[in-house]
Point group: D3
Chain length 240, copies 6
């Protein structure tokens, strides 16, 4: 039995529940999935500032996971916050959901479109696409302008997102859709059914990528850049 | 239960056995793996000519698989021959072992080195790395100059390959090794143990990539380029 | 006197006649042009599958040409099928019509547009543009949605293609048009006259590229990747 | 009079003094330079983990600067930590020292080499070079394997770094050197004198870049991605 | 006191006055700015031909500057004519206004749009963006179709350019505007005020870049390509 | 009968003779070749300054050619000076020898090496390779450090260049050699015979490229950037 933590790097527990369910729905019999909510940081991640401030909470969760011998991790936010640092801390593989979703989409056609929440996060998605070598497949990044925490509560959310996906397919002449937020994970099947193209949720994709790496016995290389970071005495924020 | 065919696009059955075993060793409980040998074409693939001539046999196998309702396919040659055409024929996902190995390696560090058989195949590997967006991770491609069918019989093969991997790590300052031939699949664990870095065999990696795509319910998009090819009356080669 | 074979890699002889005429119209006095029809394979090439299945017939033609001491070859299909393999087999130069057309267009302005037959072939054209380094000049690839074998029979074909070219020039703000199918070769002059921009037919362009290479005494390098492929015993397709 | 804060995102005050002095040495008469030490986080930044953990302290300093009406900021660590987030928080320009140094070097020749501290930080420098469009000028990244806090105390530091620079010039055939750590700022002139090529210290370069932007009346665009982040209630780390 | 020559490489003295004023408006107290008009060549630069023919006049001005010990130079035409050659001649730094404007814009957001004069100059701007590594930031190049010498006399010029900038921001979804002609330098502040985004004039930007390089003690590297050119006896154009 | 001018953009007539002979040796029966020496400018081109100063003389020659109805032009210097401007002036095609040589080499293998004269010209060759899309084929640029005008007089020139080519093939693992100076044109066959790989002389290659374009009836597009430049009153250099 291998254990994977699917870490929600924001502090909203309801979102962790959705994420955990989506991960469990695809995990194999030998895999135990645990949804983990970041203990401090922003309630949702919608700016570079939010993302930067979510990283210490995420890394704190990774440290706890390492203490408990967790085998691999999913970072369940489409900005893949803290991925490089997490790889230094964890023995086992760590995969971001943007990373997994984009790689997965590249196997299914020549080009995909990303549909995300707020337009201001599009730049980060573009950076990640390039960083992973996936910009040659990423034909466009589109925003539906629904805030992360409204994905659950806005009754029209799925409809708006579906229409944004439909437009993206036309505009970009793409083959598949990547959903650009962990909070959209549970809409994946319905949107795919509506549009008749592959729609990729990064939470499920990343869960299986981590599971596969564990099965293959593969861990982040410690030969150079991703070796454990040198131990240091950190100054804590004073609280007063 | 889902069924995956791992197709060896050359006609050497012994190699299929090795490949099948490596695929089975990592497949999940709900996955049935069948190794399939191409019924016609070259006994090994070591030139653009060999590769081109292997494709009809591979596509013939895909057609047979489709008749039998196979859920997904691995193309078990590091040149990923016929991948685009196979995706047009198959309903389910089709993954090449170079594709899977390179994507997998990109999750484990900043750069990988490929170690392949004959130097004349290095160009094809470079083409594929670029095609998949993986050239930014692929720091070098190296040949051990052992012919494909000698991998099994040359008693020094594993030692020579291990040394080539060691040199590649140094020369390229890379984090991981990608083995550049399906015939090296069974050496993967030993080389990794010797070198202390992740070593990726594409056969195992591709098997899990296909399995994951099936679990995710994802198939090649038929929206455009990869829709089923138009039916045509082909002229057969006359045999006399 | 040097001899160039212009090989039509589909089996439609009428198309070979058109191609041969276009090649002859530009060849120099010391060059003998022979149009050669592939003896087996698809009647037209409109999918990755068609293209893959056309390659053995093409390579068979190259082998026959080599037996007869042919000096150079044009592959007269815009997908440039089997080009790398053909270069391994042939002593003299081998040029694809997409290759020649794109290179030629790059000498005439900052950017060109490709106008091809079916939209599903656009991906292949994009791959080739990148492979030849011509994507920086290729500003767009457009389809007229006329099937290859209808180019000859559809009375509106030339008009439709001309309009597609006109739109492409506007959309892409490009300087020249590349015709994306050997079957359009005989429309080249008329479309150029209509539009007032350079329009490039790859058949004529490739014929002169091969002729030039022969005049220069240049052949495909055999130093590495494109040396003659190792001889092997191939398994033939059983016919029953 | 305009005010620029040069923020050292690690907690080592001695390093801030060096940095502040280097910034002051180049600032114009109308510019007031203040060196600011991060109030919490790592004592030096030598891993992705260190860098991630330095960002909240850096952003806290930016917030304080905004409260005081500071006109622009330098992030004085060669990993340019938190740059995107800082740009969301600050009204005035924010420049990283890697950013400034690389841009500056690109004005002085065709290629530069970076010489940094520990090899494990080379990956981050490469990421930044690409992000800024400077990888076409960056011919190599080299490590001298002196830890950041030893730059001051190791009596051989300057000599070792000078030799690393000399080797880098030869290996990369480059025109200039970029020093890859704020802690090397005070060695810049001496190394340049020794080697006879331009040597760029990012602290001085970034100070003048910020000063120039202020003079030009230019601020980070708030049209999209870098608008002020949405206000949110953050969960604080519990301290017990 | 350092001396910077801002060279207008066309022969229109009125344009030099505007340029000189814009440069002086931003220069520091220790910097003396001199506007210099090219003594021979075209009255404005609006083609590759104009640009090529402006270079000898520009280089002649640089030679005179060197005789007088000038510390640095701005080439005040958005095609940055003769930049590489000027760097060979000058001891101090030489910066083109396209170079400076694009680098500056890259510090202020993810993407900028260029708005230039005639459409036929857009290709040159694209070449420069790539050459400087700035094409990843340059989201579009747009023409207002006002000839260079009409910028001053056309009463609607500023309005037309402002509208072109507004459209460019929308079309490209960019963060900032780069003005693509030295003749637009004096419109910069007004357009920025109208549009609410950073608008960059290369004359001012380049002046401060040169000033900063002088302050930093940095000169073009003479290690290789940009060493002083070998002395030769040139044949002069016969005048009869 | 079509007429091609092969313009030597330096003023050394002996070099023009060599160039003219190499062009004539490959031209077809219907082509008349004229070697033209630039009437003013540098005696050889070995710096950015030389190159810039050679352009007016080259363009003057093009103007004379246009007056005489010349059908196409070769610019016979490996820096391809003034190519864009020449295309504006000439009705017929204009090809640079670096352009033609690199394109030609790309048809013969996966990668070529350039061997040029002085190291200081390597940067220009790299710029051109990128500009033409040929940098993916250009594996290295090497200098033999023989000055252009010594190519004829140094008795060891051919031997030194041959050795530089041999080393380049090894270092770059390339398939072919591009000779990086018009002054090497007459050594091409001998070096190829010595090394057993294709060696490309740009003078011959460009001559046939121009001849082919003329045969194809293709001219530089005048749709946009390369239309005739607007007429202007140029200020002449005063001679006193």
């Amino acid at each position: 039995m291998s254990r994977i933590w699917v870490i929600n790097p924001n502090t909203t527990r309801a979102m962790t529940s959705t994420i955990e369910a989506c991960a469990r729905a695809v995990a194999g019999q030998g895999t135990e999935i645990t949804g983990v909510t970041s203990e401090f940081g922003p309630p949702s991640i919608e700016s570079h500032y939010d993302e930067a401030m979510s990283v210490p909470g995420l890394l704190d969760a990774i440290r706890r996971g390492e203490d408990q011998g967790v085998d691999g991790y999913v970072i369940a936010c489409f900005g893949d916050p803290g991925l490089d640092a997490a790889r230094e801390l964890a023995r086992g593989p760590v995969i971001g959901i943007a990373e997994a979703a984009m790689h997965t989409a590249s196997h299914l056609g020549r080009g995909f479109s990303v549909v995300t929440t707020l337009a201001r996060t599009m730049g980060r998605a573009a950076d990640l696409a390039e960083h992973y070598g996936m910009h040659r497949f990423c034909r466009g990044i589109h925003a539906c302008e629904i805030a992360v925490l409204d994905l659950d509560t806005d009754p029209d959310a799925r409809k708006i997102i579906t229409e944004a996906c439909r437009e993206a397919l036309e505009t970009d002449d793409s083959d598949a859709i990547v959903l650009g937020c962990a909070g959209m994970a549970d809409m994946c099947a319905a949107i795919s059914a509506d549009l008749g193209v592959p729609v990729i949720d990064g939470v499920a994709a990343a869960t299986l990528t981590v599971q596969s790496l564990i099965t293959l016995g593969l861990q982040t290389s410690t030969r150079g850049e991703f070796a454990a970071p040198p131990e240091k005495q950190y100054t804590q924020r004073s609280m007063c």
